[in-house]
């Protein structure tokens, strides 16, 4: 039964977009396959064990009916004996712990990581290869305002010496993390490489607009505010906002 439960839960989160809160999208086929295998094995086990119990149980018709349900009834002597099995098996007892993630998943429905984690993590803007060669960065694509990922914005503002962000209106989408001093806030995206356990944050300080509620999702339209945070891999670039719009939580919350 546990196998069916786990398999079903895996399928449930991987066939909807729920899995994107916890793991990278590349893991989806593996999740679906694992869920299907568990479900299959669970179903086969349920059928086989049912049949086998019926085969070894020389009880009356009533006993057959119950055994076929996969739920041995306490008064039947055969079922009583089966009850002893639980004593000397550390394995399946530990297996019941597998219910915990399923319970957590459907009772709490843990949200994607938000400002709590982001406030404990700092920018890491690795020097890209383009910053080392002579050709430098390619030109920014057209668009006014230009929608960018936070990663692009960070790299361009910190490492692109041609400063292409100057005098360009850009659009960044992320959630709101309050800053260390009152009144400041960051537009933030978390980045995961495998699952939420390895997440770190990308943050850009927003000026010129009051902070929306913490953890709400916003699209900030504005311009790069050169604040001297360049050429360092722990830089914290800033943006002067012209407009801040509330947006719904995106399907893929991580970047």
């Amino acid at each position: 039964m546990l196998l069916i439960l786990i398999g079903g839960a895996l399928l449930r989160i991987s066939l909807t977009d729920m899995y994107l809160r916890y793991v990278k999208d590349g893991l989806r086929p593996a999740l679906i396959a694992a869920g299907a295998i568990l479900l299959l094995v669970g179903l086969v086990s349920a059928v086989r064990d049912g049949i086998q119990r019926r085969a070894v149980e020389p009880a009356a018709d009533a006993g057959h009916a119950h055994a076929a349900d996969g739920e041995p009834v306490a008064p039947a002597p055969a079922a009583d004996e089966a009850g002893h099995g639980h004593d000397h098996s550390a394995g399946p007892r530990a297996a019941w712990l597998l219910c915990l993630p399923v319970l957590a998943l459907f009772l709490i429905a843990p949200p994607a990581l938000g400002s709590y984690t982001a406030s404990r993590s700092d920018n890491v803007v690795a020097k890209p290869a383009a910053a080392n060669n002579d050709a430098g960065f390619p030109a920014l694509p057209p668009g006014d305002p230009l929608p960018m990922t936070l990663a692009d914005f960070l790299i361009r503002s910190v490492w692109d010496t041609a400063a292409p962000l100057k005098d360009r209106d850009v659009q960044l989408t992320g959630f709101v993390t309050p800053g260390k001093s009152a009144g400041t806030w960051y537009v933030t995206r978390m980045v995961i490489s495998c699952c939420a356990a390895d997440a770190f944050a990308r943050k850009i300080e927003v000026h010129g607009a009051a902070a929306p509620p913490t953890d709400s999702w916003v699209t900030v339209t504005g311009r790069w505010l050169p604040n001297g945070q360049v050429q360092a891999d722990d830089a914290m670039p800033a943006l002067t906002a012209a407009k801040v719009d509330r947006v719904p939580t995106p399907k893929e919350p991580y970047e």
Partner: protein, 362 residues
């Protein structure tokens, strides 16, 4: 009755029947079973709380703590904990399924003679061969534990199986590629990781061959092969048993890792980044508590600014071999005594290997 399922099957239906009734009725019937079963058992057998007792206890705790719990559920720390816990479990499950599939296939379809042919007879030679063979299992560490268990069950020398267990999550092509992507300007990091991980795995295999005692490994009891079963039936039983067994312990590991992930403040780790000796120890320790999947740990290592390359190497060598999730999995598969000895020894060897290789290559 039901001899075939001596280990795996009976607890499940029994538990289902006992857990199904509502808690109040359950409490009564538990007392009844405990009382009535006693005369039938040998008097030496201690009364041990069963699933039902735990279930009732848990429900009672939930019942009384309910207002407190509801209050706490909304706090960001608890939600973050739940997210990380679910994420680790979800991420690990496909690899655990892959590992148990392989392990069950080894048990059901590969005759033991294959391994005696492939592996050199002398343990000292079999260890490096098995270590290098780790490169072919494209998974992270959750897959390697059940596979190593399956290999041992099939008569492979424990020393060789353990070398495989340690090397496969660290030196397979997926992990090495991820490392190369994470350190674009330091290709020597990939080589250093390969050398240090394989070195640690082989050394641990030799150490086990020299000093290890067979009784330290608690043999995993599997469903018995009664000959009457078809191969597919054996395959299914082994798969079901291994998965449930390892899965439970995986959850223990995920709970521990999520708790440490949320509670260990990052600035404590950052504070020691300046000291070359402490930095290595600090990152090795971080690798143990974070329990990041070996396919992603290179990215985490790359994001740890201010640490020496050797410290980052230690993070990537220790992580796939020793972490709280793995310790839980190993305790489940090979016994607690084994996990304590083996993990602490591996931790020391991995740090030494990182120092040596870091000094040599980085």
């Amino acid at each position: 009755m039901n001899v075939m399922f001596e280990k795996s099957a009976p607890p499940r239906p029994a538990a289902a029947a006992r857990v199904a009734p509502p808690p109040l009725r359950g409490a009564e019937s538990s007392a009844a079973t405990a009382g009535s079963a006693a005369p039938g058992r040998p008097p030496a057998e201690r009364w041990r709380p069963g699933q039902l007792e735990f279930f009732v206890l848990a429900l009672l705790v939930l019942l009384f703590a309910q207002p407190w719990i509801v209050d706490r559920l909304g706090t960001p720390a608890v939600q973050t904990w739940a997210t990380v816990f679910v994420a680790i479990s979800v991420q690990a499950l496909p690899f655990l399924v892959l590992g148990t599939l392989l392990s069950a296939a080894i048990t059901a379809f590969v005759p033991p003679s294959v391994f005696t042919k492939v592996l050199p007879e002398r343990q000292a030679l079999a260890v490096p061969v098995a270590g290098a063979a780790g490169a072919i299992l494209p998974g992270c560490e959750c897959a390697s534990v059940p596979v190593a268990g399956g290999l041992m069950a099939r008569g492979v020398a424990p020393a060789a199986a353990l070398a495989f267990l340690l090397s496969s999550p660290a030196i397979n092509p997926i992990v090495l590629t991820a490392t190369a992507v994470a350190f674009p300007k330091q290709p020597e990091m990939v080589l250093a990781r390969f050398v240090a991980s394989l070195g640690t795995a082989v050394l641990m295999g030799w150490l086990w061959a020299r000093f290890g005692r067979p009784e330290w490994i608690k043999p995993m009891r599997r469903p018995h092969d009664h000959g009457g079963n078809g191969r597919w039936e054996n395959f299914r039983l082994a798969l079901q048993h291994d998965f449930l067994h390892a899965g439970g312990f995986l959850v223990v590991g995920a709970i521990t890792a999520a708790t440490l992930n949320v509670t260990v403040p990052k600035h404590v780790i950052d504070a020691v980044s300046g000291s070359p000796w402490f930095a290595v120890l600090a990152l090795a320790f971080l690798a143990v508590v974070l329990a990041v999947c070996s396919e992603a740990d290179a990215f985490v290592a790359a994001s740890l600014l201010g640490f020496s390359p050797t410290a980052k190497l230690a993070f990537m060598v220790v992580g796939p071999m020793v972490d709280v999730k793995l310790i839980a999995l190993q305790s489940g598969t090979f016994g607690r005594g084994f996990a304590a000895r083996f993990s602490s020894a591996t931790f020391v060897v991995a740090i030494v290997a990182s120092y040596v290789v870091g000094w040599w290559l980085l």
